[in-house]
Amino acid sequence: MSLRVYICPWIGNGTRSNAYRSKADSYYPNVRNYFPSLLNGPPASPWVLSVVNSNDFSAIDADPTCDDLFAGDLPASVNTMNDIVSFLRARTVADVPLARRNAITAVLDKYNVIRTDIVGSTPLWKVTQRVISTLMERDDNFGFGIPL
């Protein structure tokens, strides 16, 4: 089993039998999501960040609506949250081969993740944090519902 990080649309309608969930959940039984909600209940963003644990990512990779944030750059040896954090902290953007780097850039641009300050020396962990902060900015519960 190894971990990969995807940006996926959500599915469902928010009812008990059809809860809002990441599209990744329709492919895999081991998925953890960063999934903020609006104060009135629906998802705060049209996409969510999903960490998938699997031996085979072909199903989600075949879905054009789900994007592998790191374009396959995570090695199969990354199979715990500690592994992924350690790996992403140690690996910089410049360490990623050019084709994968271009793919990562395309994903960030697709989801309007600001990357103007992301440079070659930027650790991939900070890229992950930037994606999360992009979601947080849409989360009107962040700060425990206290309006900015």
């Binding site: 039984p29 998925v31 999934f35 209940g41």
Partner: protein
């Protein structure tokens, strides 16, 4: 607040009596030292009405089969500012009994925060959910299966979620999470320059 342990070993109650309170949904009853939801298919939250910190946990067991295992110990139920349509986090088994589902309900809308394989679920397994800041954890029999970050619900009470009118639940416990040990005096955390 010290941990509250309620094994429901007392006379029958129709419905469950205070300090248990209904936040939203159907009645649950105490019958033969277990609690049951006999009727109704409303999304149902009950909570233990006492003083709890926002960092809290709840745990319980499924004593006899609830259809689709659609129940779970819940945290941050009710409380000031919460929608009375239904709000809380809870942990349940999936319908097949093969994995954990970590859920939240915000203003009546359900969101699946995490799913995790955990092998075969058995009646009597202790399901436990913890909320600490924006960290929500799912545990079965003391083993942690999922951790997610979510900021939707900040306070409330430990309790129970229940959907399907079937089965029984027992051995509920809830309380404050014990704070992390204080850092020893003289300890200097590692300092790194910004950007390192």
């Amino acid at each position: 607040m010290p941990a509250i342990n309620d094994p429901f070993n007392r006379s029958n109650e129709f419905p469950l009596l205070p300090p248990w309170l209904l936040w939203v949904g159907d009645a649950v009853d105490l019958v033969a030292n277990e609690i049951v939801k006999s009727t109704g298919t409303a999304d149902t939250f009950w909570y233990y009405n006492d003083t709890f910190s926002a960092d809290q946990y709840a745990q319980a067991i499924e004593a006899s089969a609830v259809t689709n295992h659609d129940w779970g110990p819940s945290v941050r139920v009710g409380g000031a500012g919460h929608s009375n349509i239904g709000e809380g986090y809870w942990l349940s088994s999936n319908a097949a009994g093969t994995g954990a589902i970590l859920n939240k309900e915000v203003n009546g809308s359900f969101t699946q925060l995490a799913s995790n394989s955990w092998g075969t679920y058995a009646l009597g397994d202790t399901l436990r959910i913890e909320a600490q800041g924006t960290t929500i954890r799912a545990l079965r029999n003391g083993t942690q299966y999922s951790t997610v970050t979510d900021a939707s619900l900040s306070g409330g009470f430990p309790g129970l979620f229940w959907f399907e009118p079937s089965g029984s639940v027992d051995n509920w416990e809830g309380g404050d999470l014990v704070a992390a040990p204080a850092v020893a005096r003289g300890f200097s955390p590692r300092r790194m320059p910004l950007g390192a």
